[in-house]
């Protein structure tokens, strides 16, 4: 009897504590949420992470700089390319290397394709969590087209490790531009279908409007970035305010909504998909032709000091901090991951709502758990 009641804490006022996870269909990864309920209402919740802690930061201290790239893929695997780009940019900044324009354009195009791909998967899983099971198939069907483009140029669909300090590992496939243009034409017709299925549905509005309210001050104080923060009005788009790669050569809007509820975060991501397509269209026809990598030494040794690079992944702001002592391996690498800050605001915004709201809120924050644990 005692073993079975160990996980049940019953207090006088009929609160009971249950576990969601670590294996659960809607937490999207190995995350354990300890939720205290009173009937259907959530009183508080505590996330327990660390189930997929692999010690990436420690491993980086014994690997050379080109080798670190392969580890960063596995942190937030849905923005794999952007993670790689962050480390490459940091190393290039430290070595004061100027990469060719072609590299900047291709990196930006790939970053936007990765962002599109990640938002498609988010949309599929979000609809499925709320019960509209068909969204899963529509989103993944369109995502396959992007993954085909990736597979053609890099050989792998999700974790490519295509960037290297100084440029790209090899040049892209000759059909790269053609396939991207075909995809953009195809997807511009398909994206309104997503709105018809989910965004304009009145049941969905009831499930998401007014649910999980996050103010702008709270977003800044908790460090919630990315579309989750921009849904609350926090202007945190690194691409706009601290541009890198080819982002200063394109015109795009920063998507801001002020309502701060689940629906605003949802709309922010849907609008970001349109903006990504605009950015790709502006860049894909003008890729210059000046080589796919700069001249780099065989063994990279960064000068002493601390170097910091901030990029915008699909989920928020990723910071890479590299501290070097002049050797060929870094002394300390720190990844400030966006999902880490986004997760811990869950207690604040889900308390007081119902369990069904908890599922909707954690879906709208778009958490990828390996990024939290690294």
């Amino acid at each position: 009897m005692s073993e079975e009641v160990k996980n049940i804490i019953v207090s006088e006022n009929e609160d009971y504590v249950i576990n969601m996870g670590p294996q659960h269909p809607s937490t999207h990864g190995v995350l354990r949420l300890e939720v205290c309920l009173n009937g259907e209402t959530v009183k508080w919740l505590r996330p327990h992470c660390g189930y997929i802690h692999r010690g990436i930061e420690k491993m980086c201290e014994s690997l050379t700089y080109p080798q670190i790239i392969h580890l960063t893929d596995r942190m937030d695997y849905l923005s794999a390319h952007i993670n790689n780009e962050a480390v490459c940019l940091c190393v290039e900044k430290a070595l004061e290397v100027e990469v060719p324009e072609r590299v900047k354009y291709i990196r930006t195009i790939l970053a936007e394709l990765t962002r599109l791909n990640s938002h498609q998967l988010w949309w599929s899983a979000f609809g499925m969590d709320l019960g509209a099971l068909t969204t899963f198939f529509y989103g993944l069907r369109d995502r396959e087209k992007i993954l085909d483009i990736f597979e053609e140029s890099f050989g792998s669909r999700l974790l490519h490790s295509f960037n290297t300090p100084g440029g790209l590992m090899h040049d892209v496939h000759p059909n790269f531009q053609k396939h991207i243009k075909e995809f953009i034409k195809y997807f511009r017709k398909k994206l309104p279908e997503y709105n018809q299925l989910l965004t304009d549905n009145v049941i969905f509005h009831e499930r998401s409007k007014g649910v999980g309210y996050l103010t702008k001050e709270e977003a800044i104080a908790w460090g919630v970035t990315g579309p989750s923060g921009r849904g609350s009005g926090f202007e945190c788009d690194i691409r706009k305010h601290y541009p890198y790669s080819a982002y200063d050569k394109v015109e795009f809007n920063e998507i801001l909504y002020t309502e701060g509820d689940t629906f605003a975060r949802y709309k922010a991501r849907m609008d970001e998909m349109w903006e990504s397509m605009n950015i790709i269209e502006q860049l894909v026809d003008n890729i210059p032709d000046d080589g796919h990598t700069a001249k780099m030494k065989a063994v990279l040794k960064l000068p002493e000091g601390e170097y910091n690079q901030r990029v915008e992944t699909a989920r928020g702001e990723l910071d890479v901090l590299i501290k070097s002592d002049g050797n060929k391996t870094p002394t300390r690498v720190k990844f400030r991951s966006p999902n880490f800050n986004n997760l811990f605001v869950l207690n604040k915004i889900a308390s007081g709502g119902k369990i069904a709201d908890l599922v909707a809120i954690s879906g709208s924050l778009d958490l990828v758990i390996p990024d939290i644990d690294r």
């Binding site: 992470c49 660390g50 420690k58 460090g223 000091g305 601390e306 702001e317 720190k334 880490f340």
Partner: protein
């Protein structure tokens, strides 16, 4: 925002501020016991409040730990890093979790991986690892089973 003016204002109010090597962002090296007041000052600086703490971490220098606090002012788009050195044998530092809620968890991570104790932290527990694991990101962490020394 004029960082040199910020440095002058800081120098007027606090002692022992040095300017860090400007590689990337402007930074200040501050003594550890004044850390909390300096962060409060920066958070309420009238020319642009540094209200967004975007990174909080620790590095191991071999003979001391250095804590790094990266802050941004969202209105003025200025970034600054505050560094302090703390003792390696007994690493203790006041917490900033009362000023920035995000810091509560970032500091827990530093406690988990380095062993730095934060005074007045609301809930100082380990985040990722078990209670008897040791502090892996220290340079003198030895694990014969899992780590292969080259």
């Amino acid at each position: 925002m004029d960082i040199s003016q910020l440095k002058i204002k800081l120098g007027e109010k606090f002692k022992g501020i040095e300017e860090a090597d400007k590689i990337d962002l402007s930074g200040f090296i501050v003594p550890a016991d004044q850390l909390h007041e300096i962060i409060v000052f920066l958070k309420e600086y009238e020319k642009g409040k540094f209200n967004y703490l975007f990174n909080l971490t620790c590095t191991d220098n071999g003979d001391s730990f250095t804590m790094l606090y990266y802050m941004e002012s969202v209105e003025e788009r200025a970034n600054v890093v505050v560094k302090t050195n703390i003792d390696r044998e007994k690493p203790v530092i006041p917490t900033v979790a009362d000023l920035f809620p995000a810091a509560e968890y970032l500091e827990r991570e530093v406690y988990d991986l380095f062993g730095v104790v934060f005074e007045n932290h609301p809930d100082l527990r380990r985040l990722f690892l078990e209670d008897d694991f040791g502090y892996p990101l220290r340079k003198d962490f030895k694990d014969e089973i899992n780590i292969i020394e080259r």
